[in-house]
Amino acid sequence: MSVKLFELLLQASIYTVTISVVSILIGFAIAIFLSGMLLSGRGLFVRPAQIFISFFRGVPLLVQLLLIYNLLPVIGINVPSIVAAIIGLSLCTAAYQAENLRGGFASVPPGLVESAEMVGLTPRQIFRRVKVPIALRLTFPALVNEAILILKASSLVSVVGIVELTRMAQDLAGSTFLPLQLFASAGLIYLVINWLVALAGGLIENRLPGAPR
């Protein structure tokens, strides 16, 4: 297999990485909002968040992508392929990340919150200085997991017309008749990307407040 083919795979992997990173970040922002709704304890907020999460966790991502790409134009929103891909991945990961965050906040020991109240911290301070650091630390490994899952799931966005790593490998395998070399190379590129994500995750985790030194 020529260097040229490997370069093409690397170029296509830029799509894989960009779409995944943007989606994970947007998804995280939505997830913060959703977990806030879930933890509010008010049916008015909890119910819609639960419906959102059960839809985006319950429908296969492939179907979600096809729906977003083919259905939104019907109501007059004709999004380009790249936008459809990012919307699909973001909403899907938001549902999972929201549950992670909810679990993290729910696991903050009530005793710690009570102690913080005892020493006179305001609710705002308790949230920022006690709840967020603990929840972040508890949910961070799950966030790294989710990032890796989304990177791999991004291969599905080829159904809405994005030529990312997997699709490029398929296209090149079709024209060069070198499926083994191309898919092995694509697998290797995914492995390296995800290894880097895991490595970065580990480094950040050790720097989070409360990390063992």
Binding site: L66, Y69, N70, N78, A173, G174, F177, P179
Partner: protein, 275 residues
């Protein structure tokens, strides 16, 4: 295939449901001219019409749509999808016309509008070079034959298989390129696809593949595909006129020679397809 039909059904049902609330109406030709670009949907796994050569999307469609673009005075923007996603996306308005091309069939004509044919689409068998067990189309009885899913070639292969003493073991692939790869790897005995496609593949891979003649399907043609509604009529009329002009001044024959090695004698329009 099952999963795929279900999925398409779901999207189709959703689109039908949504169509009733859609009030988006405009003359597509005017919109295309105003934008200066015409969006064309296709899959890039259908050599020599559309394929990826060293990372570049090339083929007869690319050249021919460049000429059509010149005639209409617009640029061409390509949207590439898996083939089974192309028609749902056309109906969803993701692009103005589909390249493909698609075999002109009665069933498709009920729903879509075809341009003048650009090539013959009659189907034949591609086998591994030197395979003595297949010397005529009927020899595929009982053998594993690959074909693209959601294609007219699949329908024709099924029809042909019914008439054989032992049925063909039909293997459906997401794209034809994958079936060629499996043929090269010896997992299937042949691939059923239109003659221009397999002739091109056999020429590219001399010593690996061979075409089994004669073609077994009924004589059919390839056309580009658009929507039938009034909004799209001016655009489709303009594309038809451009293609007939390109055919009349010999550019079509030049492109056919470039990509098929020979030019075809195609009718100006297909009113009554063979199947």
């Amino acid at each position: 295939m099952r999963k795929n039909s279900l999925l398409k059904g779901l999207v189709g049902a959703a689109v039908l449901f949504g169509a009733t609330i859609s009030a988006h109406a405009a003359d597509t030709l005017a919109a295309v001219k105003a934008a200066g670009t015409m969006k064309v949907g296709t899959e890039t796994a259908f050599a020599p019409f559309d394929f990826i050569d060293a990372g570049e999307h090339v083929g007869l469609n690319v050249d021919l749509f460049n000429e059509i673009g010149k005639e209409l005075g617009v640029k061409i923007e390509w949207v590439t999808l898996p083939w089974d996603g192309v028609f749902p996306a056309l109906e969803a308005g993701k692009f103005d016309v589909v390249a493909g091309p698609a075999t002109i069939t009665k069933k498709r004509m009920e729903r879509y509008r075809f341009t003048p044919p650009l090539a013959e689409a009659t189907i034949a068998i591609l086998k591994k070079a030197g395979d003595q067990t297949i010397s005529k189309p009927e020899d595929i009885a009982g053998k594993k034959i690959g074909v693209g899913k959601a294609t007219a070639q699949l329908d024709q292969l099924k029809e042909f298989s019914e008439a054989l003493p032992t049925k063909v073991d039909i293997r459906e692939y997401p794209a034809f390129t994958e079936s060629y790869a499996d043929l090269a790897a010896g997992r299937i005995a042949g691939v059923a696809n239109s003659l221009p496609n397999i002739a091109f593949v056999a020429k590219q891979r001399e010593g690996t593949f061979e075409v089994v003649l004669p073609p077994f399907g009924k004589k059919s043609y390839f056309g580009f595909i658009g929507l039938k509604d009034a909004d799209h009529a001016p655009l489709m009329d303009a594309i038809d006129a451009a293609m007939l002009k390109i055919k009349a001044d010999g550019r079509m024959a030049t492109l056919q020679k470039k990509w098929f090695g020979a030019s075809f004698d195609t009718p100006d329009s297909v009113k009554d397809p063979a199947f």
